[in-house]
């Protein structure tokens, strides 16, 4: 009973606002520490690759950003679905707060992929299934942001955005399994749940630390952004006008 109560307590924007600030602060701290460790490992601890030399070090940002681009989308779709079914305001705000970060992660994955593909494959870009589906993911993020921005009524904007997000979920397994289902220029998964990993342990550790760093970064940025969204949407309420940062 009390668990249920506390869940509902934090589903109110007024109660979540300070909590988001606390989570954001802790996540930002974790992100900075992990980024420092991860970058040090990426450049000074992880050995040179036997085939790609130093050029493979792009993997330490390419793979984490690509994972986050898919993961953030799933989290957004989850919150959008909750918002659609239960009409909770906060979950729609969470989806909205995550979108720019997801778009940036997708962009980083595409950009670093191009800068990796050029020297190794011989092409900045190819239209194979993996690259194309990741590009579609980028357009889904942009489409969601544009759609939400173009509808003035926030409730309707949330609904339209949620439907777009849920339809776009189909794309996520396509991205993930594209290298398995079709012949692609992109190589298969280095780290997979079923087959373990095919890279040396120290490289894998560096990549995982960078992944957690990106994850903490995303949480921090989304939490700080959701605070702004809460303020924007609740600007006429009494609790907002009584906030210390507003009254001073």
């Amino acid at each position: 009973m009390s668990g249920r109560l506390s869940f509902y307590r934090f589903s109110s924007p007024a109660a979540f606002y300070p909590l988001a600030g606390a989570i954001g602060k802790v996540s930002a701290l974790i992100a900075v520490v992990l980024l420092a460790i991860g970058l040090y490992m990426s450049f000074f601890v992880a050995p040179t690759d036997y085939k790609q030399g130093e050029g493979y070090r792009i993997i330490f940002i390419h793979v984490p950003s690509a994972w986050m681009s898919m993961f953030i989308y799933l989290v957004m779709a989850f919150w959008a679905g909750i918002g659609l079914v239960f009409n909770t305001r906060l979950s729609s705000m969470m989806a909205q707060a995550l979108a720019p970060t997801g778009a940036i992660m997708t962009f980083i994955a595409l950009w670093t992929g191009a800068f990796w593909g050029k020297p190794m494959w011989g092409a900045w870009w190819v239209w194979d299934a993996r690259l194309t589906s990741e590009l579609i993911l980028f357009f889904l993020y942009i489409g969601f942001i544009a759609l939400q921005g173009s509808i003035d009524d926030t409730r309707r904007a949330d609904r339209a955005g949620a439907v777009l997000l849920l339809v776009g979920v189909v794309n996520i397994p396509i991205i993930y399994f594209s290298v398995k289902w079709w012949n692609t220029l992109h190589q298969g998964a280095t780290v997979s749940v079923t087959e373990g990993s095919s890279m040396s342990t120290i490289m894998l550790q560096a990549m995982l630390i960078m992944t957690f760093a990106f994850w903490a970064y995303s949480v921090a940025v989304a939490m700080y952004r959701v605070r702004s969204i809460i303020l924007e949407r609740e600007k006429d309420t009494r609790w907002v006008s009584e906030l210390p940062e507003v009254r001073r």
């Binding site: 050995p47 040179t48 690759d49 036997y50 085939k51 790609q52 050029g55 493979y56 993997i59 679905g81 659609l84 079914v85 239960f86 009409n87 020297p119 190794m120 494959w121 011989g122 092409a123 190819v126 239209w127 194979d128 299934a129 849920l166 339809v167 979920v169 189909v170 396509i174 289902w181 079709w182 012949n183 692609t184 220029l185 190589q187 298969g188 998964a189 280095t190 095919s198 890279m199 040396s200 490289m203």
Partner: protein, 153 residues
């Protein structure tokens, strides 16, 4: 409470329909989404005739011939069939015998695939040169050991 259940129902039905539709589409598309054809598909005449397509496989070790005027000849194999490729231009860094490669071009009448673009396809393995060396040596040693063990027989 009721409206909420109704919305949840709509959502689930919608997702199921969407999933089924996309499954059907991708089933129908099948191999059309593949980026390249294998030498076996070339041998079985599954590739478009008189049309540009991509050929993918491994560069047959010992088959690379650098001729005059920058033209390179090599065999692309999938360990079942082999296609001879001719290419004029700069090869990517990772192009090597025994490595994956994707060539774009068309079949010549003489059975040689004339490529106008060659991309290297690498695998998902990453390790240090020392480890790669050790693996290679271990592999060699294993073969030698097997040969030794077989000798007395």
């Amino acid at each position: 409470m009721k409206a909420r259940h109704k919305r949840l129902g709509f959502l689930l039905v919608g997702l199921v329909v969407l999933g089924a539709a996309s499954w059907l589409v991708f089933n129908a598309l099948g191999n059309n989404l593949s980026y390249f054809f294998s030498p076996t598909e070339v041998a079985e005449n599954k590739v478009p005739a008189d049309h540009v397509f991509r050929l993918g496989g491994l560069v047959q070790p010992g088959s690379v011939e650098r001729g005059e005027q920058l033209t390179v000849h090599f065999d692309v194999t999938d360990n079942a069939h082999t296609v001879r490729v001719a290419y004029t231009g700069i090869l990517p860094d990772l192009f090597k015998e025994g490595q994956g490669v994707i060539a774009q071009g068309r079949m010549g009448s003489d059975g040689v695939f004339v490529a106008d673009e060659v991309l290297a396809k690498h695998d998902e393995n990453y390790m240090s040169p020392e480890v790669a060396d050790a693996l290679e040596k271990g592999h060699q040693k294993g073969i030698e050991n097997m040969a030794k063990e077989n000798k007395p027989l």
